[in-house]
Symmetry: C2
Subunit: 285 residues, 2 copies
């Protein structure tokens, strides 16, 4: 099965109401007077990182990608459980893990380590605390809202290719936790962009049953001569959100388009209707 | 690094107080008026299951081993996040996963699926709710307590070898959730036995700073002619606990020894002092 088929299979299993139908970035779990935000992301050698990658960077990115999911909910990190298959350069892995846990104030809650016989696989379950109710989802975008992003797209791509000023964007991405917390009370929908801006915008529009009209000339990209690639490469870990256009927003963001009533295509890029998700970004499995 | 060295490295990272120093089966997290129990266990092809294993059984066991950790805390399952590397017989995996989630009433909270290039790796983060305070730990065994187990040891070993009446013990182990809940208010220390009875008893005695004196003739084993192996093979997922010897216990258990003041060896098996953990059970990594 490919990933879409498998996730469709998972959706037929017993789901907790907090799972939001497995259609969001995180579970949102009411626990007494608190609302916990839960997410689990994995990375595998050969799929998500090269065999020659520095393990300190792999550990950092594993933490960052999970925290980016928490950021999309406006959550504060509480702690993490980690799953590690031991392999080469475990000291490096511990060092990058320490860097990320310290900087983002996310202590370990537990975990498991295993010996493995093949490429390394890692997983983190990150747990956070919602800072605002209702917790943002992908489903709330409304006609008349404006569409915004944090940051610049294509930086991870250029870092992957070795451009010196973008290396950190690829190897040490910074989850938008502060921005997520500041925006959570103001947004109508929010998600993190990890698989490419166009693909993730397409998904949010579908979840919200609206259409997005993006103005390509407004989208901040790292290389304007490679716009198409910058909008399709993943790994940027920025936030994509919608909000009422009259709102003053408390953090630096860029308005890149508007939300319209649902029409033929979920996303229009300038005059181009993007009808299908294929070729819009990183499709799993 | 081997697993012990890596876990020692993890202990030098920022730890949440709920992590209990990474020295227990689960994290115990106070969340408003609730106490959550959190655990993460992984399985890898080639290490924890054979390439020819039925994936439905692998999925069942993955759930069961995580629930066994919750059982050792007397916890009720709330839900699980799952990490899956897609590979062969994903339909079978989903089918075994459904069986276990339904029977143990643990709905999915979320998860991640990845394409992988090598042997499959799976992880589950199981979350439960404590049913009794204080939540049992490995550290509370006291001189004068009696030492008990649930079930029979060596059944998983015989199932692994193909003995018909023990196949389920190996392929579809049943976590002792009901027993854990019933015992939690009465025990002084409790853990689940997954790496072999002698090794896990050794660990509990060390954590509690006591010595255990086991009477080998009292320990229920599946094949008395292979006592040494039955006491050292893992995968039985029974509970090991200590309690005041005068207590009436509400579930079927077997008294296998007594707790003494700490002396030279953590565990004595009959007249034999077991000074070192080597050769007592399944040592990771």
């Amino acid at each position: 099965m490919n990933e879409l088929e498998f996730v469709a299979g998972l959706r037929t299993l017993p789901l907790h109401p907090a799972a939001r139908g497995l259609d969001d970035d995180c579970a949102v779990f009411e626990c007494g007077t608190e609302t916990l935000i839960l997410t689990h992301d994995m990375m595998a050698e050969g799929t998500h990182f090269a065999p020659e990658a520095k393990m300190a960077d792999v550990a950092w990115k594993l933490v960052a990608m999970n925290l980016s999911d928490l950021a999309s909910k406006g959550a504060d990190p509480i702690g993490a459980l980690i799953g590690v298959s031991l392999g080469r350069d475990d000291e490096g892995f511990l060092s990058g893990l320490r860097d990320a846990l310290v900087i983002y104030d996310m202590p370990l809650l537990g975990g498991d380590t295993i010996a493995s016989t093949g490429p390394s696989t890692f997983g983190i379950t990150a747990i956070g605390r919602a800072t605002h109710q209702p917790v943002p989802s992908r489903r709330g975008a409304k006609e008349g809202d404006a569409l915004y992003v944090t940051g610049i797209f294509g930086r991870a791509m250029l870092g992957f290719e070795g451009h010196a000023q973008h290396l950190d964007a690829f190897h040490r991405p910074q989850p938008r936790l502060a921005e997520g917390r500041a925006l959570a009370p103001l947004v109508s929908a929010m998600m993190d962009v990890s698989d490419g801006l166009l693909l993730d915008a397409w998904r949010m529009a579908q979840s919200s049953k609206v259409s997005f009209r993006l103005k390509p000339e407004l989208i901040p990209v790292a290389d304007t001569t490679r716009l198409d690639e910058c909008l399709r490469w993943g790994d940027d870990y920025e936030l994509l959100f919608t909000a009422h256009p009259a709102l003053d927003l408390p953090v630096p963001v860029t308005r890149i388009g508007v939300v319209e009533a649902e029409s033929e295509a979920p996303v229009y890029l300038g005059g181009t209707a993007l009808l299908e998700p294929q070729s819009l970004g990183y499709q799993h499995g």
